[in-house]
Amino acid sequence: MPEANIMSPADIRRAIVRIAHEIVEHNRGTQDLVFVGMRTRGVPLAQRIAAAITEFEHEQLPVGTLDVGLYRDDLTERGSSVNIQPSDLPDVAGKRVVLCDDVLYTGRTVRAALDALIDFGRPERIQLAVLVDRGHRELPIRADFVGKNIPTSRGDDVQVRLGETDGEEYVRVAAGEEAEALR
C-alpha cells in the first residue's frame, strides 16, 4: 500500500527555494559561499540550492561533493558500506561552507563530514542545510536550514527520492515493520 507523501515534488521545490533565500539572508549575500553536498542525495540538493540562488542573485556559486566513507564510525546511520568514492571539493579555506544533506538523524554522518571538511582546509564557518530533520540526535548537532521537520520513531525509515539520483521525487515515511518489508 503506497504511503502518503509527506512532501510532493512541489513541496520539495518550494522548500529548496525557501532554504536558498534563507541562506542568502542569513549570510548577508553570497560572498565566499561554497556548497558541499554529501554523497549521495546531498549532492543534487546542493546543486539545486546553488542554482536557485544563482537565479535570484545572478552569481555562480561553487558546488562540491563530499564522501564521508573514510570518516564514519560504526554507529553512523548509513551502515558499514564498503563503497567509497572520491571527494571533489573546491577550495574551502576561509570560505563559508554550506554542507547539504537529505536527512538529518543522529548527527553522526554530519560529524564525520565536519572532520572531513576540516581536513580539506580551514573554512571560516560551516553551516548545515537539510531537506528533512527527523529528530533523535545523538550528538549536539543542529541544522541551520531545514526543509521540513518530521517527527519519527526510531524504527521508521525516511525515504527521500530525488530525480537526479532516483528518477522520481518525493519524501515518505515508512513505519516500522513496513520499512523492513520494503527494504
Binding site: 566513507g69 573514510l70 570518516y71 558500506s81 564498503v82 563503497n83 568514492q85
Partner: protein, 348 residues
C-alpha cells in the same frame, strides 16, 4: 614498483573507472593471498576504491581516520624498502598504527617458527599482518593459524597480489578496459611472482595474455594446463613474433643468478633475443604501454633508451602502489568488522 613508458596523452584520455558503483558485496575476504580466485567484481571494487584513495593522497593533508585503532604489522622475511614503505604509508594515511617487524632482527633468527611469530604478533595486537616471505605458501600457513588478517606481500616464487593490482590500476588508467587487449609478458616468468599474479588478474578481466621467454624460463605446464588449473595464456618463444600488435609490454628483470643457474647462457645472448628495445617496440601497437616491476637492468631485459623513457612516471606508480594498498587494507578491515565470511570451500 612499476615504471611506465611516456606516451603522448590523448586528448580524450579514458575516463577513470568510477562512473558505476562497483558491487560492494563483492569483497568477502579476510585475507589477500593471491589473485587466483579473484572475480571481476572484486577487481572492479578494488580499483574503484583505489581511485578514491588516490584522491585522498592528492590532498594537502593526506590523512583520514578510517583505520584509526587498527594495528598493522609488516613482517618481512626478505628485504624490500619499496614494498614495505608503500604498505607503511598506506596504513598511516588511513590512520592505522603501523609497526615494522624485521625477521632477521627478531626472535625469528633465534629459530622461532612462522606460526609462533604470527601468534605472538597477534597477541601483541596485530589486526592485519603484511607478510613477505621467501618460501612459497608461507602466507597460507600463516592464514590457517591466524585470527587476524594476512596480506601477502610476496611469497617465494608464488604470488605478489598487491603488485599485480597496482599494475592493473596503471594499465586501466592508461588504456582503459583490458578485455581483449594484447598483453605480452617478457622474461623470467618462472622466477617472477609478480608475473604470476598478473597472469591471474589479467586473464580474469579477459585480456589476451602472451608469455614470452626462453623455454627454460617458462613454468612447466603453463602452456597446456588442464582447464581451470592455471591462467589461460599463450606461450611464444620468439619475441619478435610475440610483440606484434601488443597493447602492453611487461619486461621482467633478468637476475644474475639465473645465468649462473644455467637457465640462460649469459647477458649477451639473452639481451640479443629478449631485450625490449626501440626496434622491437616499434612492432607493438603505436602508443603501447611498457611496464617493468623494477629495479631495471638497463641493457639486459630493457634497453637504456626505453628504460630512460620510463623514468618520468615513477612518481605516479608510487602513488598507485600506495593507493592500491590502502584500498586492500580498507576492504579487508571492513570485512573483519562485519565478521567477514570466507570463500566457500576455503580452509582459511
Amino acid at each position: 614498483m612499476t615504471i611506465r613508458a611516456p606516451q603522448p596523452r590523448p586528448t580524450d584520455a579514458p575516463a577513470p573507472l568510477t562512473t558505476s558503483d562497483a558491487d560492494e558485496s563483492a569483497w568477502q575476504r579476510r585475507h589477500l593471498l593471491d589473485l587466483d580466485d579473484v572475480s571481476v567484481d572484486e577487481l572492479d571494487l578494488v580499483l574503484q576504491t583505489a581511485d578514491t584513495m588516490k584522491e585522498v593522497l592528492s590532498r594537502e593533508v593526506p590523512r583520514v581516520p578510517a583505520l584509526r585503532g587498527t594495528t598493522i604489522m609488516t613482517l618481512f622475511y626478505e628485504n624490500s624498502t619499496r614494498t614495505r614503505a608503500s604498505f607503511e604509508l598506506a596504513g598511516k594515511v588511513l590512520g592505522a598504527d603501523v609497526i615494522n617487524v624485521s625477521a632477521s632482527a627478531s626472535s625469528v633468527s633465534k629459530g622461532e617458527s612462522l606460526i609462533d611469530t604470527v601468534k605472538t604478533l597477534q597477541a601483541v595486537g596485530a589486526d592485519v599482518i603484511v607478510l613477505r616471505h621467501n618460501r612459497s605458501g608461507a602466507p597460507y600457513l600463516a592464514a590457517r593459524h591466524a585470527r587476524c588478517s594476512i596480506i601477502n606481500a610476496g611469497d617465494g616464487l608464488h604470488a605478489h597480489p598487491t603488485q599485480a593490482l597496482l599494475d592493473l590500476l596503471t594499465i586501466r588508467s592508461r588504456i582503459g578496459d583490458v578485455r581483449g587487449k594484447r598483453v605480452v609478458i617478457v622474461g623470467d616468468v618462472l622466477h617472477s611472482r609478480v608475473a604470476r599474479s598478473n597472469l591471474w588478474s589479467l586473464t580474469a578481466l579477459g585480456a589476451d595474455v602472451t608469455v614470452c621467454a626462453p623455454r627454460t624460463l617458462v613454468p612447466v605446464g603453463l602452456e597446456h594446463a588442464p582447464e581451470g588449473t592455471l591462467p589461460p595464456v599463450r606461450v611464444e618463444i620468439d619475441l619478435d613474433r610475440a610483440i606484434v600488435g601488443a597493447d602492453v609490454v611487461m619486461a621482467l628483470r633478468m637476475q644474475h643468478e639465473r645465468m649462473q643457474g644455467g637457465f640462460v647462457p649469459g647477458v649477451r645472448e639473452y639481451s640479443r633475443l629478449y631485450q625490449i628495445n626501440a626496434a622491437r617496440l616499434a612492432r607493438a601497437k603505436p602508443g603501447a604501454l611498457v611496464l617493468h616491476p623494477g629495479p631495471m637492468n638497463e641493457g639486459v631485459e630493457i634497453s637504456h633508451e626505453v628504460a630512460h623513457g620510463l623514468q618520468s612516471h615513477v612518481e605516479e606508480q608510487v602513488t598507485n602502489g600506495v593507493a592500491v594498498r590502502m584500498a586492500v587494507l580498507w576492504l579487508i578491515t571492513r570485512t573483519l568488522s562485519r565478521g567477514g565470511r570466507l570463500p566457500a570451500g576455503s580452509a582459511l
